[in-house]
Symmetry: C2
DNA sequence: TTGTATGCGTTATCAT
DNA sequence: ATGATAACGCATACAA
C-alpha cells in the first residue's frame, strides 16, 4: 500500500494525498475527507524509509549506551528510560547503539548511514572518540557527561566534584576524621571516565580543606568488588569511619563487607553517596545521597537535542546539575 | 556523499560501485580496488534510508518494551541488554518502542511505517492487542512470553506455573505448612499478564498437591507495596512461614517489612523466588531462586526472529524454559 | 485548490 | 565485466 494507490482510489494526484497528510498546503475539505476515508479504509501509513529519503530526516534519534549493557547501573537505566519516554512524547523513535570505543560497527552505521537526525551519548569520557566522530560528521548530539573540551559540545552533566566534596563535608560535619572514597572501576577511571576523575578531585580538595584524612579507592562496578574494597580499607586504614561513593553497583557488596567485619551502618561506619534517587531510597539502610535526577536529565537531553537539530549552528548549551544531598539513614555522627 | 559521486570519481557507473560494495556480482579486481580507494578516501557509507527503500528491508529490528520504562525490572533490563547485544553481533540495529496497549503511536509508527524487518515483544499478555496487530500486519515477530493462542506465534518463555510450583514444593519439603504467593501487581494480572496468571495456577496446584495452606497475594511492583503485602500477610495469616514470589521489585520491601515485624530470613520466614540470576545473587540474603536466564533468552529471541524473517511462512517455533532452582540462603527448614 | 514533474540515494534488471 | 535505467515511495517546486 503506497501513496499512489491511495491517490488512485481517491481520484486525486499523489501530491494532493501527500499535502492532505502533512497539511503543508491547503486542501479542500471535500477532497480531504475523501482521501481520509480511503486512508482509513486501507489503514495506510506512509513508508518511513521513503519519507526519510525524500525529506532528508529520519525522525529518529540515536541513543549510544555503554556496550556491556548487562551491567547498566540504575542511574544509566533511568537515563535510557527517560530518554525513550521523552522521545516518544515528541514522536521521535530511538535507535539503540551499544558502543564504547571508536570503530564500533553499530555506531558507525548510525552515524555515517545517517540513520538518525541526532544522538544522545551516554558515559562520555574526558577524551572521547565518539564525540570527535560526531563532531566531524556534523551530526547534532548531546552528551550525558562532558569531555575536556566542554565548549565544543552540547551536554548535560552532574557536578561530581562538588557533590563528592559535599559528601566529605557532610561526613566531616558529623565528626568523621578519616574517610574513604569508593570510586568507579580502575579500567573506567584509567580510560578517562569523567565522573571518576572529577570525583577524585573533589574528594581530594574537600579532605584537604577540612584537614581530615582521606583515602581514595578504585573499585569495580559490582558487589564482589565492593566487598573486597572494604577488606582493603579495613586492612590499610582501620580508622576510616566514613565512606563517600558514586559506585552504586558496588554498594551492596560494601554493605556485606562491613557486616562481615562486624560493622554496622551508620553506627560504626557512615556512607554517603551520589546515586539515583529511587535506588538510594530502596537501599538498606536508606542511603544519604545526592540524588541524581536521572529521569529529568534524560528528558532534558532530548530537549537539548531537539533544539540542536533545529538549530545546529548555535553555540552549544550546557547544563550542569548539583542536586542537594538528601539526608537518610546511612550517615550518623562518628563513633567515639 | 553518495554513490554517484563515488562512481564519478572512480570513473565507473553507479551500479558497478553498488556491486563492488555488495559483492552480488563479480567486479574485476582492478576496478574494485579503484573504487575502494575512492570510498576510503571520502569515507563513504551508503545511506540507510535509500538502501532500505530500494532493498525493501531496513536491517533493523524493533524491541517493544513496557511503557513505564522507568520501572523496568532487572530481568526486563537483562532482556533488553541481551537483545541489543545479540542484534549488534549480527549487524542489526534496534529500534525501541515503549508501548503496552494498542493504538500506541510509537508502536504504530514502527509497524505500519515498516521501520523494522521484525520485532521482539516483551511482556506479552494472555490476550495481547500488539500480537494481533503484528499478525495481521504480517510482520515477523517473536514474543518474550506467549498468548493464549500460543500456536499462532513464535515465542520464548519461562514456565512460571512449573517454577512457582517448584518453589512451593521446595518450601513444603522444608516443612513449611503455610505459604504465601507474592504475585505481580493487581493491574498487571487483571490485564491478563501471563506470568502472573500462570504463577497463580502453579501455586494453587502445588499447595493442593502437598496439602498445605496457600494464600495468593497480588502486590505492586515496588518496594512500598512489598512492605504492605507483608503487613497484610502477617495480619491475615500469621502462620505463614514461606513466601514464593516472582515479584523482584517488591522483594526489598518484603524484606524490610519482615524486619519491621521482627522476623529474620530464613530463620523465621523462607523466601523462594523466580528472578534474574545476577539479581538473586546480589540480594541479601542471597535468594534461593529459579534463575531466569534472561541474557540467553534475549539472544535466543534474536535468533528466532532472524530465522523468522528469513522464512516467515514456516510454522512458528516456541521455546519454553524451566531453569532449576538454585539453592542460596533465603530458604531454610520451617521454624518449630 | 489541484496536478505534473523531478529528486532523494540505492538496488536490481536489462542490455552490451 | 560493466553501463544505462527503471524501480522503491514519498515530498516539493513549479504549473495551471
Amino acid at each position: 500500500m503506497n501513496i499512489g494507490e491511495i491517490a488512485r482510489r481517491a481520484g486525486v494526484s499523489r501530491s494532493t494525498v501527500s499535502y492532505a497528510l502533512t497539511g503543508k498546503r491547503p486542501v479542500s475539505e471535500a477532497t480531504r475527507r475523501r482521501i481520509q476515508d480511503v486512508i482509513d479504509e486501507l489503514d495506510y501509513k506512509p513508508n518511513a524509509a521513503a519519507r526519510a529519503l525524500a525529506e532528508g530526516r529520519t525522525r529518529t534519534i540515536g541513543l549510544v549506551i555503554p556496550p556491556a549493557a548487562a551491567r547498566l547501573t540504575h542511574m544509566q537505566l533511568d537515563f535510557v528510560a527517560a530518554v525513550v519516554e521523552a522521545a516518544a512524547k515528541v514522536d521521535l523513535d530511538v535507535l539503540l547503539s551499544p558502543s564504547g570505543g571508536d570503530h564500533d560497527r553499530s555506531f558507525e552505521r548510525m552515524i555515517s548511514g545517517r540513520r538518525v537526525d541526532g544522538a544522545i551519548v551516554m558515559e562520555i569520557r574526558v577524551q572521547d572518540a565518539r564525540v570527535e566522530r560526531l563532531l566531524d560528521e556534523e551530526l547534532p548530539f548531546v552528551g550525558i557527561g562532558h569531555t575536556a573540551r566542554a565548549d565544543r559540545m552540547c551536554w548535560i552533566d552532574v557536578d561530581y566534584a562538588t557533590l563528592i566534596g559535599r559528601c566529605v563535608h557532610h561526613l566531616a560535619d558529623l565528626g568523621h576524621s578519616a574517610v574513604a572514597l569508593v570510586n568507579r572501576s580502575p579500567e573506567l577511571v584509567a580510560s578517562g571516565y569523567g565522573p571518576g576523575l572529577r570525583a577524585a578531585e573533589g574528594f581530594g580538595a574537600a579532605v584537604a580543606e577540612r584537614g581530615i584524612a582521606g583515602y581514595a579507592y578504585l573499585c569495580g562496578d559490582d558487589a564482589a568488588s565492593g566487598r573486597s574494597v572494604v577488606e582493603r580499607i579495613r586492612a590499610e586504614h582501620p580508622e576510616v569511619t566514613g565512606i563517600a561513593t558514586l559506585n552504586e553497583a558496588a554498594l551492596p557488596g560494601v554493605q556485606h563487607g562491613l557486616e562481615d567485619a562486624g560493622l554496622r551502618v551508620p553506627r560504626d561506619v557512615s556512607i554517603v553517596g551520589v546515586a539515583a534517587a529511587q535506588w538510594a531510597q530502596d537501599f538498606r539502610p536508606p542511603l544519604t545521597a545526592a540524588d541524581v535526577p536521572a529521569q529529568q536529565m534524560g528528558a532534558q537531553a532530548v530537549e537539548l537535542l531537539v533544539e540542536r537539530i533545529a538549530a545546529p549552528d548555535t553555540i552549544p548549551r550546557h547544563i550542569l546539575l548539583t542536586p542537594p544531598i538528601s539526608l537518610r539513614s546511612s550517615s550518623a555522627p562518628a563513633p567515639r
